[in-house]
Amino acid sequence: MGVQVKVIQRPEPGRTSYLRAALKGMALTFRHMVNPTKVTQQYPEEQTDLSPRWRGTHVMETHADGRPKCVACGLCPTVCPANCIRLVGGEDDNGNRYPIVYEIDEFRCIFCGMCQEVCPVEAIHVGQHFENAEYSRDRFVYDLDRLMEQDHPSTLLWDPSDPRSE
């Protein structure tokens, strides 16, 4: 589809009006002023409806007994384009791998969601959440406990009403 050009004809000078146009403008602004419908969203009281595909603060899913689902396979730090995930894996007596250190730097993260896509056990997720202001910079490196504490819904990487993106 080509660019559409709308040619606006300038009115003939003898027919243009400044005053009437100004008065029309005044009437328009007055109508808007008394119109009670406002577009402002009163943010802290009115929360934004996030898309089910919103990619925000990470969530680490846990098993029923409180252990992280992560098996320290190392796929997420490998795939992470921003290199913001630090993972040190370990192995317990039963031979199950688990993360000893799992840190995500939310400042470096670009919220692409590839860690969630690549995770074979659906442990790490990006979440539907964005309010993560802090008073100091070091608070932005989320460790494993903090990632497991996050209680906001995790992201569906598709829209349930439109799963094939049609």
């Binding site: 300038r10 000078p13 027919r15 400044y18 100004a22 602004t29 419908t37 402002t40």
Partner: protein, 430 residues
């Protein structure tokens, strides 16, 4: 009842000064709030509504913020004039309101107090003189900033103020001729006697005065001195914190003075419409509310509640003009600089000059016919002025004055655009 005198008079004067100063500062603070709320509503937003109920404490928060912010001083600025500029800007804005009467005289046990800070005999001239001093603050601060945008803003301000002061003064002359006096108290009284507010018998002067007042207070659509899109913010580009705040207060105080003046000169000041019980004037040693058929004065009955009612009416009229300022600002775009000058010198000046002539001849004819100063007198002037106004609006409305840059000025003369195409190389085979 006698006017107040002696020590109580001094105390009353001090009370009025403190009261008016406080009132002006509060009105200025809440005009900034109103400006933000109204502009928000016009743009389908809410505006500041967080600090206190409905955001009513916002001006206080802004004041605290401005006091606590860092004062910057450009390294190349002229220190003395840089600091002096904001002061020179704010003082005339606050002083000019002193001569505007804001209510009917108030009776007290010690005598009658005139509800005006200084009823100086040169009333209107005082306002004009002090109002023009405001330009010094702008020019000096723009120059002392040593910044080209500030300097351009100052230059524009001075040119614009000079241009529109002429039209402002000429529009005033019509009212002065009709009132026969320059004292604002007397102008209110004359409007009560005429049974017409001067906005009607002098409608064209009213329109010219409002336009000039907009230009004089540097408000949109005439805010050339601080045209953000062209000059950063013009003359106060280099100012921060409380110094900037002083310019801000000065602008709004100017607005308020101009609004109060327009209300007094053209909308009858504190006069309550369609009522004569509020009329009061100090005439030859007594307070009178008018003259009977034989020309004998009728004593006025003053009361505190009447003063209060007239004060409320005066506030309403002033608030109307303040609202008009805000409403116009958020509707009309800024003029181009040459359009401002064209409007000032080629339209406002000749029109106001011609109008002064028309009003003068009409008053002369009416005096010659010995028509008494009253309703009929005002009616004739209203008709004459109405015709002038219609002609003026017709003239202004046909785009003979303000045209876009690309619009040819006349239809009968086709516009020849210069042929700027570069002749290309000849195509082979031509």
């Amino acid at each position: 009842m006698e006017p107040i005198s002696g020590v109580p008079a001094v105390l009353a004067m001090l009370g009025k000064i403190v009261g008016i100063f406080t009132a002006v500062m509060i009105v200025v603070a809440y005009t900034t709030y109103a400006e933000r709320r109204v502009s928000a509503w016009i743009q389908d937003r809410h505006g500041p509504n967080r600090v206190g109920p409905f955001g009513l404490l916002q001006p206080i928060a802004d004041g605290i913020k401005n006091i606590l912010k860092e004062e910057t001083m450009p390294a190349t600025a002229n220190r003395f004039w840089f600091v002096l500029g904001p002061m020179l800007s704010i003082i005339p804005a606050l002083v000019a309101i002193a001569v505007v009467p804001f209510a009917a005289p108030l009776p007290t046990p010690w005598g009658v107090v005139d509800m005006v800070v200084a009823d100086v005999p040169i009333g209107v001239l005082w306002v004009l003189a002090i109002g023009s001093l405001g330009i010094y603050g702008i020019v000096i601060s723009g120059w002392a900033s040593n910044n080209k945008y500030a300097f351009l803003g100052a230059l524009r301000a001075s040119a614009q103020m000079v241009s529109y002061e002429v039209a402002l003064g000429l529009a005033l002359i019509a009212t002065l001729m009709l009132a026969g006096n320059v004292t604002l108290t007397e102008m209110v009284w004359q409007q009560q006697q005429l049974d017409w507010w001067y906005a009607f018998p002098l409608s064209l002067a009213f329109i010219l005065f409002v336009i000039s007042a907009f230009a004089e207070t540097n408000r949109l659509p005439f805010d050339m001195p601080e045209a953000e899109s062209e000059l950063v913010t013009g003359y106060h580009t280099e100012y921060s914190a409380m110094k900037f705040s002083m310019f801000f207060i000065a602008e709004y105080a100017h607005m308020m003075t101009a609004s109060a003046l327009m209300a007094t000169l053209f909308l009858g000041g504190w006069d309550i419409p369609f009522a004569t019980w509020d009329d009061a004037y100090y005439w030859q040693g007594q307070y009178i509310s008018g003259f009977d058929e034989a020309g004998a004065p009728i004593a006025a009955s003053l009361a505190a509640w009447k003063s209060l009612a007239t004060y409320a009416v005066f506030s309403l009229k002033t608030a109307f003009f303040l609202f008009l300022y805000i409403w116009v600002r958020w509707t009309l775009p800024r003029f181009r600089y040459d359009q401002v000058m064209t409007l000032g010198w080629k339209v406002m000046l000749p029109v106001s000059l011609a109008y002064v002539m028309v009003v003068a001849s009409t008053i002369l004819v009416l005096d010659y016919l010995e028509i008494p100063y009253g309703f009929v007198f005002g009616l004739v002037l209203t008709v004459v002025s109405g015709l002038c106004t219609l002609g003026f609006l017709f003239f202004l409305d046909r785009d003979r004055v303000i045209a876009g840059a690309a619009v040819p000025h006349r239809l009968d003369r086709p516009v020849r655009m210069p042929d700027t195409r570069v002749p290309g190389p000849a195509i082979r085979g031509d």
